[in-house]
Amino acid sequence: MQIGVTKFPGTNNEQDVLRALKSLNVKGELIYPWEEKKLEDLDALVLAGGFSYGDYLRPGGIAAQSPVAEKLIDFEKNGKFIIGICNGFQILCETKILPGVLTTNLSTKFICKWVNIKTETARSPLLKNLAPIIKIPIAHYEGRYYHNASGIKKINTEDSVAFRYCNEQGEITQESNPNGSMENIAGIVNAKGNILGMMPHPERASFDYLGTDFGKQIFVNLIEEIKC
């Protein structure tokens, strides 16, 4: 089994993803932006968070032009799995593999805190057996999910919303929306269910000593799906 974890200049969560995979006895492999050929041998790819190329143009904007990113569409078409976390989600939106954009938080500040999210769909195997409400950290400056009205409608009709921000009781409220995302959207999946993009960090909620390991289930699901 081969799971790649992208490492662009400025990516800084790749070791955390590797740590989560390692705890499930999977050795992930770092994929640098110029190593697009390696994608052919991979079963799945995790686009790890951080600040690829410093987010200098806009988050994920430069990474989306890299050789690896250009091959992502083929990867997706072959039905292989991709999980984009935080900056990875931004890259998936920049490459148009997932719809919508992630823009500056309403507060115009970087926000790092624990939030609650609720799983909204069963269409992706990556979302199996998740706790109904997951406590999980976010850490981003540009995590506000935005799409035009028809786009949002389409996502809802297609049942593509993976997660919404909610309160401890699972209610989707304005107060529990940390960054002003439309309809509290925290993550989405594609129609086939093999691509997941999410702003919260499951790898940061994968060990008890960090507060919870509820996030680990997403990696468990990924590994199980590849095994199938």
Partner: protein, 725 residues
Amino acid sequence: MLTTEEYSRILDVLEREPNKGEVAVFEAMWSEHCSYKSSKRWFHLFNVKAPYVELGIGEGAGLINLGDDLLVGIGLESHNHPSAISPYDGAATGVGGIIRDILSQGCKPIAILDAIRFGELEKSQHSQYLLENVVRGISFYGNCCGIPTVGGEVEFAPQFENNCLVNAMCVGVVQKSKVVRSIAAKPGSFLVLYGARTGRDGIHGVSFASKDLSDKSDRDRPAVQIGDPLMEKILIDVTLELVEKELLDGLQDLGGGGLSCAVSEMTHKGNTGAIIRLEDIHLREDDMEPWEILVSESQERMLAVVECDKLDEVVSILNRQDLTYGVIGEVTDNSHCIAYSRGEKIVDLPVDLIVDGFPEPERITEKPDYLKEEDSVVPDFEDLNQEIIKLLSSPNIGSKAWVYQQYDQHVQTQTVVPAGSDAAVLRLDNGKHIALSLDCNSFMVYLDPYNGTANSAAEAMRNLIATGAKPLAFVDCLNFGNPENPDSYWQFVESIKGLGQFSHDFNIPVVGGNVSLYNESFIEDKRERINPSPTIGMIGIIENPEKLIKNSFQEKGNFVVTIGECDGNLNGSEFLRNNFGILQGKISQYDKQKEVSSRKAIENLNQSGYIKSCHDVSNGGLITALAEMTFENEIGVKLDLLENDSFIKLKLEEFLFAETPSRYVIEIHSEHIESATKIIEGKVSFNIIGKTNSQPKIEIENFLILEIKQLKNAWNKAISQYMED
């Protein structure tokens, strides 16, 4: 600027006039910032030894051995002047600088903490602006580098209005066998400068840091460095690869004084010399003068010493990562730093002269006038509840969430206790936990530099103890006024004596730090000086993670016990300062014996597993400590004080607000209270003051009822109310 005395010394030794490039080198290296010429003479007062100290003061990081030959590197530095005139870039590059300090010893940076000080938010838009941008700068830089910012402190006082303080601390880890030193030991080795290109930013940065600010300081903006965190992140990744492959024979970052500092300090430590060729340095601007290249403080640059047979591999790694580098010279054995620019020799100076050849300036101490003031008197007040809410609304007491939520606290997935508790706790790969605290009570230091400093260090220690950690070592950042002013210098010397005493009393060595003087200003001819602020960053270890202590009440029905005795002294307290604007009088003295007894009590009780939660009593006194313990789980507490000696002896406000050192509040299960009492009886002054309960209130029977919700609301908004529209 060089003094007349310093210039004569140069003439005497060189027996000739120094040229322009050489003068620039001396100006940088003999500045207070680089030379420690007013401070070094007192460092002998510090305890610097412990069996686990692998590297003490003198290089980028102090190194301590946690066992299994896993070393922790720790450093703390100021970036005050740059942050005062350009808060965003000043703070960002302050963080960048301390990261590279840690990196210089081969450490992988794993945590950042910051101590920041400003004028009063409620009165000053300027201070709001500084806070906004300093936090943004730290956030932008630290987050992008992938290092969690896990703690620190924020303090506000009018004395920081025109002299804000930004101190950044970084912690890293390295295997003992991979440690790199900032030494150029072997003649014939190459000097490789890698990272960002060299530009004009930060020229004279150290000279700017070594003089008072004034209303004309804005003109020094070019002396502020500009940061590029993406470059820093790449620099970190590449350096760690070079370290892992053991390709470096020496490494130092380019900070204050730029290249001239890195080359001369590394050769000085190695008893060597160096030849460098300035044309081999990649520049941002083509027309830079040789002297500018020598002292430029452009960020994100490292100078490596590489042995001949390893150069090819180093170069291939740097090439692969597309990182700019130049092989700019060689280590020699002639004890001189020599710089050529296109064949022309522009600097030829003895290394010893550059690094420590300066004449030690005479410095005079004189006790300041303000210390003659009498003890403070508590003014009459009507409603105690309102006073308590006012206290919790003080930005010095209230929640700092507005600040730390802008920092990525969780990256690297090691953060067990993030910012907002007594100490941050990280879990290392070997399963051990380290605890980190960063503290200073500048008001107490202002009123009594000796005792205030020793007590501040003790508070940093109490923060670790309250988390269940064993303190191992500390670093300090000594922020003071102009050493040429006898009263400012007196504050500095007294403070260092207090810190030295503490380090010996508790056998906690100083392993590094930084001195920042000249934090004074003349604005419209009025002298302004910071509260003397020796910030203390302490590290401790939690060998057994089960002994990690929570800081907030865990269950209802448990006993609440105070350890240590309240002396009722309100001088220097946040209560008097915040609520009534009074800051004067004699503060509680540093008391080793009491501090030891209290610490031992907590350690022994924790060893026996009796502590459900613990919090030290510091700013805002007992009532603040209790309130903070109720907030997280909204577990209330009811106090019964009718037989409490201090309560009977003292006025209610003294009992509630005094900041007497050596005190903790602990929560103990009712089943354990008897055995717990036996452990500490006769060894420490303690009182069972009440019990936790499910009522969301803090109650002192017949005296006081406070709703937790109301307190928490005031506490939560303390900073954010001034920072959000």
